[in-house]
Protein backbone atom coordinates (compact mmCIF):
# COMPACT_ATOMS: atom_id res chain seq x y z
CA UNK A 1 0.00 0.00 0.00
CA UNK A 2 1.16 3.48 -0.77
CA UNK A 3 0.86 6.50 1.41
CA UNK A 4 -2.74 7.30 2.27
CA UNK A 5 -2.80 10.99 3.05
CA UNK A 6 -6.08 12.00 1.47
CA UNK A 7 -9.32 10.26 0.71
CA UNK A 8 -10.27 8.83 -2.68
CA UNK A 9 -12.79 11.48 -3.84
CA UNK A 10 -10.25 14.22 -3.17
CA UNK A 11 -7.59 12.31 -5.12
CA UNK A 12 -9.86 12.03 -8.14
CA UNK A 13 -11.01 15.63 -7.82
CA UNK A 14 -7.43 16.90 -7.94
CA UNK A 15 -6.46 14.59 -10.79
CA UNK A 16 -9.50 15.61 -12.82
CA UNK A 17 -8.87 19.30 -12.17
CA UNK A 18 -5.30 18.95 -13.44
CA UNK A 19 -6.52 16.91 -16.40
CA UNK A 20 -8.86 19.73 -17.38
CA UNK A 21 -5.95 22.14 -17.21
CA UNK A 22 -3.86 19.88 -19.44
CA UNK A 23 -6.65 19.23 -21.92
CA UNK A 24 -8.02 22.77 -22.15
CA UNK A 25 -5.58 23.96 -24.85
CA UNK A 26 -6.18 20.80 -26.86
CA UNK A 27 -9.93 21.31 -26.68
CA UNK A 28 -9.53 24.92 -27.79
CA UNK A 29 -7.17 23.98 -30.59
CA UNK A 30 -9.41 21.25 -31.86
CA UNK A 31 -12.79 22.96 -31.79
CA UNK A 32 -11.36 26.14 -33.31
CA UNK A 33 -9.75 24.27 -36.16
CA UNK A 34 -13.01 22.63 -37.26
CA UNK A 35 -15.31 25.65 -36.95
CA UNK A 36 -16.92 27.23 -40.01
CA UNK A 37 -15.79 30.75 -40.83
CA UNK A 38 -18.86 32.56 -39.46
CA UNK A 39 -18.31 31.04 -36.04
CA UNK A 40 -14.72 32.14 -35.66
CA UNK A 41 -15.20 35.09 -33.39
CA UNK A 42 -13.15 35.60 -30.29
CA UNK A 43 -16.21 35.80 -28.06
CA UNK A 44 -17.36 32.32 -29.15
CA UNK A 45 -13.96 30.82 -28.49
CA UNK A 46 -15.06 28.09 -26.08
CA UNK A 47 -18.31 27.17 -27.80
CA UNK A 48 -18.62 23.91 -29.65
CA UNK A 49 -18.82 24.22 -33.44
CA UNK A 50 -22.33 24.30 -34.89
CA UNK A 51 -21.10 22.61 -38.04
CA UNK A 52 -17.87 20.89 -38.95
CA UNK A 53 -15.75 22.64 -41.52
CA UNK A 54 -12.23 21.72 -42.62
CA UNK A 55 -11.47 24.93 -44.51
CA UNK A 56 -8.89 25.99 -41.97
CA UNK A 57 -7.03 22.70 -42.39
CA UNK A 58 -7.02 23.16 -46.13
CA UNK A 59 -5.56 26.62 -45.79
CA UNK A 60 -3.03 25.59 -43.17
CA UNK A 61 -2.02 22.60 -45.26
CA UNK A 62 -1.45 24.73 -48.32
CA UNK A 63 0.80 27.03 -46.34
CA UNK A 64 2.70 24.37 -44.40
CA UNK A 65 2.98 21.39 -46.73
CA UNK A 66 6.41 22.26 -48.25
CA UNK A 67 7.87 22.84 -44.79
CA UNK A 68 6.29 19.67 -43.51
CA UNK A 69 8.17 17.81 -46.24
CA UNK A 70 11.39 19.62 -45.31
CA UNK A 71 10.99 18.35 -41.77
CA UNK A 72 10.52 14.80 -43.03
CA UNK A 73 13.69 15.04 -45.13
CA UNK A 74 15.49 16.39 -42.09
CA UNK A 75 14.25 14.11 -39.39
CA UNK A 76 14.63 10.73 -41.06
CA UNK A 77 18.35 10.81 -41.97
CA UNK A 78 19.25 12.77 -38.83
CA UNK A 79 17.51 10.26 -36.57
CA UNK A 80 19.03 7.21 -38.25
CA UNK A 81 22.55 8.62 -38.38
CA UNK A 82 22.58 9.85 -34.80
CA UNK A 83 21.20 6.55 -33.51
CA UNK A 84 23.92 4.61 -35.35
CA UNK A 85 26.65 6.93 -34.13
CA UNK A 86 25.28 6.81 -30.60
CA UNK A 87 25.16 3.03 -30.55
CA UNK A 88 28.76 2.74 -31.71
CA UNK A 89 29.92 5.28 -29.12
CA UNK A 90 27.86 3.65 -26.41
CA UNK A 91 29.34 0.26 -27.28
CA UNK A 92 32.90 1.56 -27.01
CA UNK A 93 32.25 3.54 -23.83
CA UNK A 94 30.57 0.65 -22.04
CA UNK A 95 32.42 -2.44 -23.26
CA UNK A 96 35.82 -1.18 -24.44
CA UNK A 97 36.64 1.28 -21.70
CA UNK A 98 40.13 2.69 -21.90
CA UNK A 99 41.92 4.95 -19.49
CA UNK A 100 40.23 8.35 -19.42
CA UNK A 101 37.10 7.02 -21.14
CA UNK A 102 34.87 8.21 -18.31
CA UNK A 103 36.27 11.71 -18.50
CA UNK A 104 35.77 11.81 -22.24
CA UNK A 105 32.22 10.63 -21.72
CA UNK A 106 31.56 13.41 -19.20
CA UNK A 107 33.09 15.98 -21.54
CA UNK A 108 30.86 14.73 -24.36
CA UNK A 109 27.79 14.86 -22.11
CA UNK A 110 28.37 18.52 -21.38
CA UNK A 111 27.54 19.17 -25.02
CA UNK A 112 23.97 18.13 -24.32
CA UNK A 113 23.34 20.90 -21.82
CA UNK A 114 24.96 23.93 -23.42
CA UNK A 115 22.69 26.69 -24.66
CA UNK A 116 23.04 26.21 -28.41
CA UNK A 117 23.12 29.96 -28.84
CA UNK A 118 26.71 29.81 -27.60
CA UNK A 119 27.88 27.87 -30.66
CA UNK A 120 25.55 29.42 -33.20
CA UNK A 121 27.71 32.21 -34.60
CA UNK A 122 30.71 30.00 -35.48
CA UNK A 123 28.37 27.22 -36.58
CA UNK A 124 26.74 29.45 -39.17
CA UNK A 125 30.14 30.71 -40.37
CA UNK A 126 31.29 27.12 -40.66
CA UNK A 127 28.19 26.00 -42.56
CA UNK A 128 28.60 28.89 -44.98
CA UNK A 129 32.21 27.86 -45.45
CA UNK A 130 31.33 24.27 -46.38
CA UNK A 131 28.31 25.48 -48.35
CA UNK A 132 25.72 23.71 -46.26
CA UNK A 133 24.18 26.88 -44.86
CA UNK A 134 20.50 27.21 -45.65
CA UNK A 135 20.11 23.56 -46.61
CA UNK A 136 18.48 20.53 -45.13
CA UNK A 137 21.75 18.50 -45.26
CA UNK A 138 23.29 21.28 -43.17
CA UNK A 139 20.58 20.87 -40.55
CA UNK A 140 21.01 17.09 -40.66
CA UNK A 141 24.71 17.52 -39.91
CA UNK A 142 23.93 19.88 -37.02
CA UNK A 143 21.41 17.52 -35.45
CA UNK A 144 23.67 14.50 -35.84
CA UNK A 145 26.59 16.30 -34.21
CA UNK A 146 24.64 17.82 -31.33
CA UNK A 147 22.74 14.56 -30.94
CA UNK A 148 25.95 12.69 -30.12
CA UNK A 149 25.85 13.35 -26.35
CA UNK A 150 22.29 12.19 -25.74
CA UNK A 151 22.39 9.18 -28.05
CA UNK A 152 25.76 8.10 -26.63
CA UNK A 153 24.40 8.44 -23.10
CA UNK A 154 21.31 6.37 -23.82
CA UNK A 155 23.18 3.59 -25.60
CA UNK A 156 26.00 3.52 -23.08
CA UNK A 157 23.53 3.09 -20.23
CA UNK A 158 21.72 0.42 -22.18
CA UNK A 159 24.84 -1.55 -23.11
CA UNK A 160 26.09 -1.34 -19.53
CA UNK A 161 23.30 -3.81 -18.69
CA UNK A 162 24.56 -6.37 -21.20
CA UNK A 163 26.63 -8.88 -19.20
CA UNK A 164 30.35 -8.58 -19.86
CA UNK A 165 30.66 -12.38 -19.77
CA UNK A 166 28.74 -12.48 -23.00
CA UNK A 167 31.36 -10.31 -24.69
CA UNK A 168 34.17 -12.31 -23.14
CA UNK A 169 32.87 -15.64 -24.29
CA UNK A 170 32.38 -14.26 -27.79
CA UNK A 171 36.01 -13.18 -27.73
CA UNK A 172 37.02 -16.69 -26.69
CA UNK A 173 35.35 -17.85 -29.85
CA UNK A 174 37.41 -15.46 -31.85
CA UNK A 175 34.81 -12.76 -32.41
CA UNK A 176 36.34 -9.33 -32.89
CA UNK A 177 35.22 -5.79 -32.18
CA UNK A 178 32.87 -5.39 -35.13
CA UNK A 179 31.56 -8.95 -35.08
CA UNK A 180 30.50 -8.54 -31.47
CA UNK A 181 28.87 -5.20 -32.27
CA UNK A 182 27.08 -6.46 -35.33
CA UNK A 183 25.97 -9.89 -34.10
CA UNK A 184 25.55 -9.41 -30.37
CA UNK A 185 25.11 -5.77 -29.40
CA UNK A 186 22.88 -4.55 -32.22
CA UNK A 187 20.42 -7.48 -32.04
CA UNK A 188 20.26 -7.01 -28.28
CA UNK A 189 19.57 -3.31 -28.51
CA UNK A 190 16.51 -3.13 -30.74
CA UNK A 191 14.61 -1.55 -27.86
CA UNK A 192 17.37 0.99 -27.33
CA UNK A 193 17.20 1.87 -31.02
CA UNK A 194 13.45 2.39 -30.72
CA UNK A 195 13.84 4.56 -27.60
CA UNK A 196 16.67 6.64 -29.06
CA UNK A 197 14.98 6.85 -32.44
CA UNK A 198 11.76 8.17 -30.94
CA UNK A 199 13.66 10.59 -28.77
CA UNK A 200 15.67 12.02 -31.64
CA UNK A 201 12.68 12.09 -33.95
CA UNK A 202 10.63 14.07 -31.43
CA UNK A 203 13.42 16.48 -30.57
CA UNK A 204 14.52 17.18 -34.12
CA UNK A 205 10.95 17.57 -35.34
CA UNK A 206 10.21 20.04 -32.55
CA UNK A 207 13.47 21.96 -32.69
CA UNK A 208 13.30 25.65 -33.50
CA UNK A 209 16.53 27.56 -32.81
CA UNK A 210 18.78 25.82 -35.36
CA UNK A 211 15.92 25.70 -37.85
CA UNK A 212 15.22 29.42 -37.69
CA UNK A 213 18.86 30.51 -37.83
CA UNK A 214 20.29 28.05 -40.35
CA UNK A 215 17.53 28.01 -42.94
CA UNK A 216 15.52 30.66 -44.74
CA UNK A 217 12.12 30.60 -46.46
CA UNK A 218 11.98 27.55 -48.72
CA UNK A 219 14.31 25.36 -46.71
CA UNK A 220 12.59 25.97 -43.40
CA UNK A 221 11.27 23.08 -41.35
CA UNK A 222 7.72 22.99 -40.09
CA UNK A 223 8.15 24.71 -36.72
CA UNK A 224 9.59 27.84 -38.29
CA UNK A 225 6.75 27.92 -40.77
CA UNK A 226 4.24 27.52 -37.95
CA UNK A 227 5.82 30.39 -36.05
CA UNK A 228 5.69 32.56 -39.19
CA UNK A 229 2.05 31.61 -39.65
CA UNK A 230 1.14 32.68 -36.14
CA UNK A 231 3.27 35.80 -36.34
CA UNK A 232 1.60 37.15 -39.43
CA UNK A 233 -1.34 39.47 -38.92
CA UNK A 234 -3.33 38.42 -41.97
CA UNK A 235 -3.72 34.77 -41.00
CA UNK A 236 -6.88 33.91 -39.10
CA UNK A 237 -6.38 32.23 -35.76
CA UNK A 238 -8.40 29.19 -36.75
CA UNK A 239 -5.80 28.57 -39.45
CA UNK A 240 -3.07 28.96 -36.82
CA UNK A 241 -4.76 26.35 -34.68
CA UNK A 242 -5.15 23.96 -37.60
CA UNK A 243 -1.49 24.58 -38.44
CA UNK A 244 -0.45 23.85 -34.88
CA UNK A 245 -2.34 20.55 -35.00
CA UNK A 246 -0.75 19.59 -38.33
CA UNK A 247 2.72 20.46 -37.03
CA UNK A 248 2.18 18.54 -33.82
CA UNK A 249 0.58 15.50 -35.42
CA UNK A 250 3.67 13.36 -36.20
CA UNK A 251 5.16 13.58 -32.71
CA UNK A 252 1.74 13.26 -31.15
CA UNK A 253 1.05 10.08 -33.13
CA UNK A 254 4.43 8.70 -32.08
CA UNK A 255 3.51 9.47 -28.49
CA UNK A 256 0.08 7.86 -28.81
CA UNK A 257 1.41 4.63 -30.33
CA UNK A 258 4.84 4.41 -28.72
CA UNK A 259 4.42 6.54 -25.62
CA UNK A 260 5.99 3.93 -23.37
CA UNK A 261 9.29 4.20 -25.24
CA UNK A 262 9.09 7.97 -25.32
CA UNK A 263 8.83 8.10 -21.53
CA UNK A 264 11.71 5.65 -21.21
CA UNK A 265 13.84 7.95 -23.32
CA UNK A 266 12.81 10.84 -21.15
CA UNK A 267 13.95 9.08 -18.00
CA UNK A 268 17.07 7.69 -19.64
CA UNK A 269 18.14 11.11 -20.79
CA UNK A 270 18.11 12.62 -17.35
CA UNK A 271 19.46 9.94 -15.04
CA UNK A 272 22.97 8.83 -15.64
CA UNK A 273 23.50 5.14 -15.08
Amino acid sequence: MSVRIVSRPIIYAILIAFSLFFLMPVYLMFITSIKPLDQITLSQMWELPKAIDFTSYKEAYQKLAPNFLNSIYLVIPATILSALLGSLNGYVLSKWKFRGADWIFTAVLFGMFIPYQSILIPLIQFLREIELYNSIPGLVLVHVVYGIPITTLMFRNFYATVPTEMIESAQMDGAGFFTIFRYIMIPLSIIAFVVVGIWQFTNIWNEFLFAVTITTSEQQPIMVALQNLSGSQIVQWNVQMAGAILAALPTLLVYIFLGKFFVRGLLAGSVKG
Binding site: M24, M29, M45, W96, P115, Q117, P122, A244
Partner: protein, 327 residues
Protein backbone atom coordinates in the same frame (compact mmCIF):
# COMPACT_ATOMS: atom_id res chain seq x y z
CA UNK B 1 16.76 0.51 -19.22
CA UNK B 2 16.45 -3.11 -18.33
CA UNK B 3 18.76 -5.71 -19.73
CA UNK B 4 17.37 -7.71 -22.55
CA UNK B 5 17.45 -11.39 -21.96
CA UNK B 6 18.63 -13.26 -24.96
CA UNK B 7 20.61 -16.39 -25.10
CA UNK B 8 23.17 -16.70 -27.81
CA UNK B 9 25.05 -19.88 -28.53
CA UNK B 10 28.15 -18.12 -27.27
CA UNK B 11 26.95 -18.28 -23.69
CA UNK B 12 27.06 -22.04 -23.51
CA UNK B 13 30.69 -22.49 -24.22
CA UNK B 14 32.85 -23.98 -21.55
CA UNK B 15 35.89 -22.39 -19.93
CA UNK B 16 38.66 -21.57 -22.38
CA UNK B 17 41.79 -23.62 -22.50
CA UNK B 18 45.17 -22.06 -21.82
CA UNK B 19 46.02 -22.14 -25.49
CA UNK B 20 43.08 -19.96 -26.40
CA UNK B 21 44.03 -17.59 -23.60
CA UNK B 22 47.35 -16.73 -25.21
CA UNK B 23 46.02 -16.79 -28.73
CA UNK B 24 43.50 -14.05 -28.14
CA UNK B 25 45.98 -11.52 -26.76
CA UNK B 26 46.96 -9.98 -30.09
CA UNK B 27 43.56 -9.52 -31.66
CA UNK B 28 42.47 -7.95 -28.38
CA UNK B 29 45.00 -5.15 -28.75
CA UNK B 30 43.84 -4.82 -32.31
CA UNK B 31 40.27 -4.52 -31.10
CA UNK B 32 41.19 -1.87 -28.54
CA UNK B 33 42.64 0.23 -31.33
CA UNK B 34 39.49 -0.29 -33.37
CA UNK B 35 37.36 0.79 -30.41
CA UNK B 36 39.26 4.03 -29.98
CA UNK B 37 39.21 4.67 -33.72
CA UNK B 38 35.44 4.26 -33.72
CA UNK B 39 35.03 6.77 -30.96
CA UNK B 40 37.46 9.21 -32.50
CA UNK B 41 35.14 10.88 -35.05
CA UNK B 42 32.65 11.71 -32.32
CA UNK B 43 35.38 13.04 -30.06
CA UNK B 44 36.70 15.23 -32.84
CA UNK B 45 33.22 16.48 -33.75
CA UNK B 46 32.41 17.34 -30.13
CA UNK B 47 35.78 18.98 -29.63
CA UNK B 48 35.24 21.23 -32.63
CA UNK B 49 31.50 21.80 -32.58
CA UNK B 50 31.12 22.19 -28.82
CA UNK B 51 34.40 23.29 -27.28
CA UNK B 52 36.01 24.90 -30.31
CA UNK B 53 32.88 26.84 -31.20
CA UNK B 54 32.36 27.95 -27.61
CA UNK B 55 35.93 29.24 -27.62
CA UNK B 56 35.31 31.00 -30.92
CA UNK B 57 32.11 32.59 -29.59
CA UNK B 58 34.03 33.69 -26.51
CA UNK B 59 36.60 35.28 -28.79
CA UNK B 60 33.84 37.06 -30.77
CA UNK B 61 32.39 38.37 -27.50
CA UNK B 62 35.64 40.25 -26.88
CA UNK B 63 35.75 41.68 -30.39
CA UNK B 64 34.31 44.72 -32.17
CA UNK B 65 32.17 42.69 -34.58
CA UNK B 66 28.96 44.67 -34.28
CA UNK B 67 28.02 45.03 -37.92
CA UNK B 68 27.59 42.83 -40.98
CA UNK B 69 31.32 42.85 -41.70
CA UNK B 70 33.38 40.74 -39.30
CA UNK B 71 35.80 42.78 -37.22
CA UNK B 72 37.92 40.77 -34.84
CA UNK B 73 39.85 43.64 -33.31
CA UNK B 74 40.06 43.32 -29.53
CA UNK B 75 37.39 45.21 -27.63
CA UNK B 76 38.14 43.96 -24.13
CA UNK B 77 35.09 43.84 -21.92
CA UNK B 78 33.29 46.52 -23.88
CA UNK B 79 30.41 44.29 -24.98
CA UNK B 80 29.88 42.91 -21.49
CA UNK B 81 29.99 46.40 -19.98
CA UNK B 82 27.44 47.51 -22.56
CA UNK B 83 25.10 44.64 -21.69
CA UNK B 84 25.17 45.07 -17.96
CA UNK B 85 24.35 48.75 -18.38
CA UNK B 86 21.64 48.00 -20.93
CA UNK B 87 17.99 48.37 -19.90
CA UNK B 88 16.95 45.39 -22.01
CA UNK B 89 19.61 43.06 -20.67
CA UNK B 90 18.95 44.05 -17.08
CA UNK B 91 15.28 43.29 -17.69
CA UNK B 92 16.30 39.94 -19.21
CA UNK B 93 18.29 38.97 -16.15
CA UNK B 94 15.41 39.88 -13.86
CA UNK B 95 12.93 37.98 -16.02
CA UNK B 96 15.17 34.91 -16.20
CA UNK B 97 15.64 34.79 -12.44
CA UNK B 98 11.92 34.90 -11.72
CA UNK B 99 10.97 32.70 -14.62
CA UNK B 100 13.48 30.05 -13.50
CA UNK B 101 12.39 30.18 -9.86
CA UNK B 102 8.66 30.02 -10.51
CA UNK B 103 8.96 27.50 -13.31
CA UNK B 104 11.05 25.07 -11.26
CA UNK B 105 8.80 25.44 -8.22
CA UNK B 106 5.65 24.90 -10.27
CA UNK B 107 7.05 21.83 -12.00
CA UNK B 108 8.35 20.32 -8.76
CA UNK B 109 5.23 20.91 -6.70
CA UNK B 110 2.73 19.89 -9.37
CA UNK B 111 4.91 16.93 -10.37
CA UNK B 112 5.24 15.63 -6.84
CA UNK B 113 1.54 16.05 -6.04
CA UNK B 114 0.43 14.35 -9.23
CA UNK B 115 2.96 11.53 -8.88
CA UNK B 116 1.86 10.80 -5.32
CA UNK B 117 -1.79 10.80 -6.36
CA UNK B 118 -1.09 8.54 -9.34
CA UNK B 119 0.73 6.17 -7.01
CA UNK B 120 -2.38 5.59 -4.88
CA UNK B 121 -3.49 2.57 -6.91
CA UNK B 122 -6.18 4.58 -8.57
CA UNK B 123 -8.44 3.71 -11.46
CA UNK B 124 -7.58 4.91 -14.99
CA UNK B 125 -4.02 5.60 -13.92
CA UNK B 126 -2.61 5.25 -17.42
CA UNK B 127 -5.25 7.61 -18.81
CA UNK B 128 -4.27 10.30 -16.31
CA UNK B 129 -0.59 9.64 -16.95
CA UNK B 130 -1.04 10.10 -20.67
CA UNK B 131 -2.96 13.33 -20.14
CA UNK B 132 -0.10 14.71 -18.05
CA UNK B 133 2.66 13.42 -20.34
CA UNK B 134 1.52 14.20 -23.87
CA UNK B 135 2.46 17.92 -23.90
CA UNK B 136 6.10 16.83 -23.65
CA UNK B 137 5.83 15.35 -27.13
CA UNK B 138 4.91 18.77 -28.50
CA UNK B 139 7.17 21.55 -29.64
CA UNK B 140 7.58 24.68 -27.52
CA UNK B 141 6.50 26.51 -30.67
CA UNK B 142 3.16 24.70 -30.71
CA UNK B 143 2.75 25.36 -27.00
CA UNK B 144 3.54 29.03 -27.54
CA UNK B 145 1.11 29.41 -30.43
CA UNK B 146 -1.74 27.81 -28.48
CA UNK B 147 -1.15 29.50 -25.12
CA UNK B 148 -0.86 32.83 -26.83
CA UNK B 149 -4.58 32.43 -27.51
CA UNK B 150 -5.54 30.80 -24.23
CA UNK B 151 -3.98 33.61 -22.21
CA UNK B 152 -4.85 36.41 -24.58
CA UNK B 153 -6.41 39.03 -22.25
CA UNK B 154 -9.29 39.85 -24.61
CA UNK B 155 -10.38 36.25 -25.21
CA UNK B 156 -9.26 32.84 -23.99
CA UNK B 157 -9.65 31.97 -20.33
CA UNK B 158 -10.66 35.54 -19.60
CA UNK B 159 -14.02 34.82 -21.25
CA UNK B 160 -14.58 32.30 -18.46
CA UNK B 161 -12.92 34.29 -15.69
CA UNK B 162 -15.06 37.33 -16.60
CA UNK B 163 -18.04 35.52 -15.07
CA UNK B 164 -16.23 35.70 -11.75
CA UNK B 165 -15.39 39.35 -12.20
CA UNK B 166 -11.69 38.95 -12.84
CA UNK B 167 -9.79 39.63 -16.01
CA UNK B 168 -6.02 39.38 -15.63
CA UNK B 169 -3.76 41.08 -18.17
CA UNK B 170 -1.66 37.91 -18.50
CA UNK B 171 1.38 38.40 -20.70
CA UNK B 172 0.40 41.93 -21.67
CA UNK B 173 0.73 43.23 -18.11
CA UNK B 174 3.63 45.62 -17.61
CA UNK B 175 3.39 45.54 -13.82
CA UNK B 176 6.49 44.63 -11.84
CA UNK B 177 5.87 43.67 -8.21
CA UNK B 178 7.12 45.39 -6.09
CA UNK B 179 9.05 47.37 -8.69
CA UNK B 180 12.00 48.69 -6.72
CA UNK B 181 14.28 50.81 -8.84
CA UNK B 182 17.54 49.02 -9.39
CA UNK B 183 19.98 50.02 -12.09
CA UNK B 184 17.91 51.10 -15.06
CA UNK B 185 15.02 48.74 -14.40
CA UNK B 186 12.26 48.16 -11.93
CA UNK B 187 13.17 45.08 -9.99
CA UNK B 188 10.59 42.56 -8.86
CA UNK B 189 8.31 39.89 -10.24
CA UNK B 190 7.19 40.70 -13.79
CA UNK B 191 3.51 39.71 -13.76
CA UNK B 192 3.57 39.00 -17.50
CA UNK B 193 6.12 36.25 -16.88
CA UNK B 194 3.53 34.28 -14.89
CA UNK B 195 1.63 33.62 -18.12
CA UNK B 196 4.78 32.18 -19.65
CA UNK B 197 5.41 30.08 -16.54
CA UNK B 198 1.91 28.59 -16.86
CA UNK B 199 2.56 27.60 -20.48
CA UNK B 200 6.02 26.20 -19.70
CA UNK B 201 4.64 24.30 -16.74
CA UNK B 202 1.87 22.88 -18.90
CA UNK B 203 4.51 21.47 -21.20
CA UNK B 204 7.10 20.22 -18.69
CA UNK B 205 5.18 19.01 -15.61
CA UNK B 206 4.91 15.58 -17.20
CA UNK B 207 8.65 15.24 -16.87
CA UNK B 208 8.67 15.64 -13.11
CA UNK B 209 5.59 13.43 -12.78
CA UNK B 210 7.41 10.69 -14.71
CA UNK B 211 10.56 11.11 -12.65
CA UNK B 212 8.79 11.14 -9.27
CA UNK B 213 6.54 8.28 -10.25
CA UNK B 214 9.56 6.17 -11.20
CA UNK B 215 11.13 7.14 -7.87
CA UNK B 216 8.05 6.28 -5.84
CA UNK B 217 7.72 2.93 -7.57
CA UNK B 218 11.33 2.23 -6.67
CA UNK B 219 10.74 2.59 -2.93
CA UNK B 220 10.06 -0.86 -1.47
CA UNK B 221 6.73 -1.27 0.30
CA UNK B 222 8.44 -3.02 3.21
CA UNK B 223 9.97 0.32 4.18
CA UNK B 224 6.54 1.87 4.53
CA UNK B 225 5.15 -1.18 6.30
CA UNK B 226 7.99 -1.17 8.79
CA UNK B 227 7.40 2.48 9.57
CA UNK B 228 3.69 1.83 9.95
CA UNK B 229 4.32 -0.98 12.40
CA UNK B 230 6.53 1.39 14.36
CA UNK B 231 3.48 3.64 14.64
CA UNK B 232 4.51 6.40 12.23
CA UNK B 233 1.64 8.44 10.80
CA UNK B 234 1.13 8.50 7.03
CA UNK B 235 2.23 12.12 6.96
CA UNK B 236 5.37 11.32 8.92
CA UNK B 237 6.19 8.40 6.63
CA UNK B 238 6.07 10.81 3.76
CA UNK B 239 8.13 13.61 5.26
CA UNK B 240 10.67 11.42 7.06
CA UNK B 241 11.09 8.51 4.68
CA UNK B 242 9.71 9.04 1.22
CA UNK B 243 10.65 12.63 0.60
CA UNK B 244 14.31 12.16 1.61
CA UNK B 245 14.51 9.11 -0.65
CA UNK B 246 13.19 11.19 -3.53
CA UNK B 247 15.84 13.84 -2.99
CA UNK B 248 18.17 12.71 -5.83
CA UNK B 249 15.21 12.89 -8.20
CA UNK B 250 14.34 16.37 -6.98
CA UNK B 251 17.93 17.43 -7.65
CA UNK B 252 17.85 15.94 -11.16
CA UNK B 253 14.55 17.64 -11.96
CA UNK B 254 15.84 20.98 -10.68
CA UNK B 255 19.00 20.72 -12.79
CA UNK B 256 17.18 19.69 -15.96
CA UNK B 257 14.49 22.34 -15.55
CA UNK B 258 17.05 25.03 -14.66
CA UNK B 259 19.03 24.41 -17.80
CA UNK B 260 15.87 24.49 -19.89
CA UNK B 261 14.67 27.75 -18.40
CA UNK B 262 18.07 29.50 -18.49
CA UNK B 263 18.35 28.96 -22.22
CA UNK B 264 14.68 29.27 -23.11
CA UNK B 265 13.97 30.86 -26.46
CA UNK B 266 11.36 29.18 -28.66
CA UNK B 267 8.45 29.23 -26.21
CA UNK B 268 8.78 32.92 -25.49
CA UNK B 269 9.58 33.83 -29.07
CA UNK B 270 6.43 32.04 -30.26
CA UNK B 271 4.14 33.07 -27.41
CA UNK B 272 4.87 36.66 -26.45
CA UNK B 273 8.09 37.99 -27.95
CA UNK B 274 10.02 40.54 -25.88
CA UNK B 275 6.83 42.25 -24.68
CA UNK B 276 6.23 45.91 -23.85
CA UNK B 277 9.13 47.28 -21.79
CA UNK B 278 10.75 43.85 -22.28
CA UNK B 279 8.56 42.33 -19.53
CA UNK B 280 8.77 38.87 -21.12
CA UNK B 281 12.16 39.20 -22.78
CA UNK B 282 14.92 36.70 -21.99
CA UNK B 283 18.59 36.48 -23.04
CA UNK B 284 17.75 33.84 -25.66
CA UNK B 285 15.33 36.18 -27.45
CA UNK B 286 17.62 39.20 -27.08
CA UNK B 287 20.57 37.25 -28.48
CA UNK B 288 18.54 36.07 -31.46
CA UNK B 289 17.25 39.52 -32.33
CA UNK B 290 20.46 41.45 -31.76
CA UNK B 291 22.64 38.92 -33.62
CA UNK B 292 20.50 37.78 -36.49
CA UNK B 293 18.22 40.77 -36.97
CA UNK B 294 20.55 43.57 -35.86
CA UNK B 295 23.95 42.11 -36.80
CA UNK B 296 25.44 42.94 -33.40
CA UNK B 297 27.47 39.74 -33.39
CA UNK B 298 29.83 40.65 -30.56
CA UNK B 299 26.97 41.69 -28.30
CA UNK B 300 25.08 38.53 -29.15
CA UNK B 301 28.17 36.44 -28.43
CA UNK B 302 28.57 38.14 -25.07
CA UNK B 303 24.93 37.33 -24.19
CA UNK B 304 25.47 33.67 -25.03
CA UNK B 305 28.62 33.54 -22.92
CA UNK B 306 26.65 34.77 -19.92
CA UNK B 307 23.93 32.21 -20.67
CA UNK B 308 26.53 29.45 -20.95
CA UNK B 309 28.11 30.44 -17.67
CA UNK B 310 24.76 30.42 -15.87
CA UNK B 311 24.01 26.93 -17.20
CA UNK B 312 27.51 25.63 -16.48
CA UNK B 313 27.22 26.60 -12.81
CA UNK B 314 24.43 24.02 -12.50
CA UNK B 315 25.56 21.43 -14.98
CA UNK B 316 29.26 20.93 -14.32
CA UNK B 317 28.92 19.95 -10.63
CA UNK B 318 25.97 17.75 -11.60
CA UNK B 319 27.94 15.95 -14.30
CA UNK B 320 30.98 15.48 -12.12
CA UNK B 321 28.99 14.18 -9.17
CA UNK B 322 26.96 11.78 -11.30
CA UNK B 323 30.15 10.53 -12.93
CA UNK B 324 31.53 9.64 -9.52
CA UNK B 325 28.23 8.14 -8.41
CA UNK B 326 27.68 6.29 -11.65
CA UNK B 327 30.82 4.28 -12.09
Amino acid sequence: MEPVKASTPLEHHSKPSMMKETKRKRPLINDRVKAILCLLPSIILITIFVYGFIGWTGYVSFSNWNSLIPDFSFAGLKNYAYLFADFRFQADLRNTVFFTLFFIMAVLVAGLILAILLDQKIRAESLFRNIFFFPMALSFVVTGVVWQWVLNPSTGVNLILKEFGISPMWYTSVTIIPGIEWGKIEFGVPVAMIAVVIAAMWQMTGFSVAMYLAGLRGIPDELREAARIDGASEFKIFTKIIFPLLMPITVSVIIIMAHISLKIFDLIYAMTGPGANFVTDVPGVYMFETTFRGNYYANGAAITMIMLLSVAIFIIPYLISSRKGGS
